[in-house]
Subunit: 310 residues, 2 copies
DNA sequence: ATTATTTATATAAGTACTTATACAAAGATA
DNA sequence: TATCTTTGTATAAGTACTTATATAAATAAT
């Protein structure tokens, strides 16, 4: 029972406020998932500064129909984040000219593609067969409850990720992504360097497989299925830190399991480390079970071995 | 140049927020004008309590899809204003049962008619020929800028006030409204009592006129045009304190001036007191000019005499 | 019958605005 | 040229929410 529905037009203001709040919250979560350090409320001010290139506080207030103190507060926040620079106008020392900083320009490049996605998904959300404002509002509220803007955006982003097969031209990317991952969480063992520098001889030529996650024409993740005496080992899983949040790891995992089933393998094994709690949690969700770790395990850093049986 | 327009769907959230803010602001001003001590943001909670009769905080939060702390804050504010009473449920001492207080019930009686007006005017505002949510929003924003919800409501209320002619059945109302006014700003002179108790003989039978302002079938204001040797005097203007804000005084003044012109009188006079600054300001706006006050003016309280010449 | 968990509300702190007011620089006026 | 007004921004305090967390009472589990 949603009382605001029952109140009809009288609650129109409260309802559009509530809708605005949930949409803002969803977009906030999207930025967070994509590791973009940007507040949705800063969007109008930031985009206007970007478009106008140089603009003062009064003009921003006028353009956006927000109070001048509101703009001052946003501008201060954006400067604190280093996204804009503020200079006093030489001809009129009362005026503060605002423009994007270098960091702001880098941020804009990250934001523009996601803004396009947000815009499209929002359009989907608010587009429906209706003739009155109240009905549009109602249908939009219902759609948002069923499948929120947040979910819509994340689903769309996930669809943009495709898994492709080994190609030697990506050897250096394969190396770099995995070294980066190792350096972040552990340290690079000599054996790693050897294998990662020669994926063809160590993996492919040994009847192994390498897959890449491709997102917007860029390789953003790698995974390998290595042919070991005991069975195929899931390994070399690395995701570019810029693209975490898109569940790329899970997408690669889905692909590998499907691939293994099609090959009629009866199991997949992997080595990991208990300190990677999130990863272990996900492996378990996929059905991997912990087994005893052999003394001569292939990696120093491993302290857990898991097997998924089909 | 409204930037948010240009940003298209992306700025949808910001725009509905802005619209919500201006509508709330307009309704707040309406309550203020009508001397109703009520916050528009309290509307959903207050109306729900009224409809449910007895309800606890958790249920309110559920019904209105607002966080529990939000409800707690609203409920505390309403209690502080004396509009609701809170009792702890005897069976479950965690639960706080909220219901309208006597003061709250009186408030509801004041609010219900104005809620109807607000609802109707809002409906007008958001009703337009369009098919998409964005266009509805755009048209509504434009209508709001042209003729705001606030103006629409006040215009409507003013239209509800009509001026009617003398009828002896309203003699006691005529007396009471004027005595109340005198007691608020001055004190009641003996002569006042005499005149106000016998309007027929003192005013009507002396070729004078009495008019009433009628609002929703209730007499809420009075004014008289008294036949004096020098000319007709505008007098006995009183408005019920419950209905200030509807510009009833101005409506009666309009009527009297129109009436005087139709009678081909060449002037209207009035006596007032300089401490009633607002009244004097309005008289001047209508074209009344200050003239010298005779020593033997008819009222002790008067310290200014004004004349409007046609 | 304890103890642990869940439920109902309160409290604290933060965010995104608002209005009111202060202040300094620029422009207008006498 | 001094002063008065206007313009541009800053600061303070308030409002309407939010999330995170605390606390007390009720209920479930042992």
């Amino acid at each position: 029972m949603d009382k605001l529905y029952q109140f009809g037009e009288l609650a129109f203001g409260s309802r559009i406020k509530r809708l605005s709040d949930v949409l803002m919250k969803d977009v906030k979560q999207v930025y967070k998932d994509l590791y973009i350090d940007f507040e949705p409320t800063h969007f109008p001010v930031f985009k206007t500064i970007y478009e106008e290139k140089q603009v003062n506080i009064g003009k921003l207030s006028e353009f956006l129909e927000l109070s001048q103190p509101a703009i001052t507060q946003f501008v201060n926040a954006l400067q604190k984040k280093g996204l804009i620079s503020i200079v006093t106008n030489k001809l009129d020392k009362r005026k503060k000219i605002v423009q994007l900083s270098n960091k702001g320009l880098i941020m804009i490049d990250k934001l523009i593609p996601i803004w396009e996605v947000i815009g499209n998904q929002l359009t989907d959300l608010i587009t429906n067969e209706s003739t009155t404002f109240m009905n549009h509002l109602k249908l939009t509220e219902e759609k948002q409850k069923e499948n929120s803007l947040y979910k819509r955006i994340i689903e769309h982003q996930k669809k943009q990720v495709e898994i492709i097969e080994y190609n030697s031209k990506y050897d250096s990317l394969f190396h770099d992504l995995n070294i980066e991952w190792l350096e972040t969480y552990f340290y690079v063992e000599d054996h790693d360097k050897e294998v990662l520098s020669n994926p063809k001889s160590y993996i492919i030529d040994n009847n192994g497989y390498i897959f890449y996650a491709k997102y917007q024409n860029e390789i953003v993740g790698t995974v390998a299925l290595m042919n070991e005496p005991e069975g195929y080992e899931l390994s070399k899983m690395a995701v570019s830190p810029k693209y975490r949040g898109l569940k790329i790891g899970q997408k690669m995992m889905d692909h590998c399991i499907e691939f293994a089933k099609n090959k009629n393998w009866n199991k997949l094994l992997l080595y990991s480390n208990k300190k990677l709690e999130n990863a272990i949690y996900i492996y378990r969700k996929y059905g991997f079970m912990e087994v005893e770790l052999e003394k001569d395990s292939p990696y120093e850093r491993s302290d857990i071995k898991m097997i998924l049986r089909f």
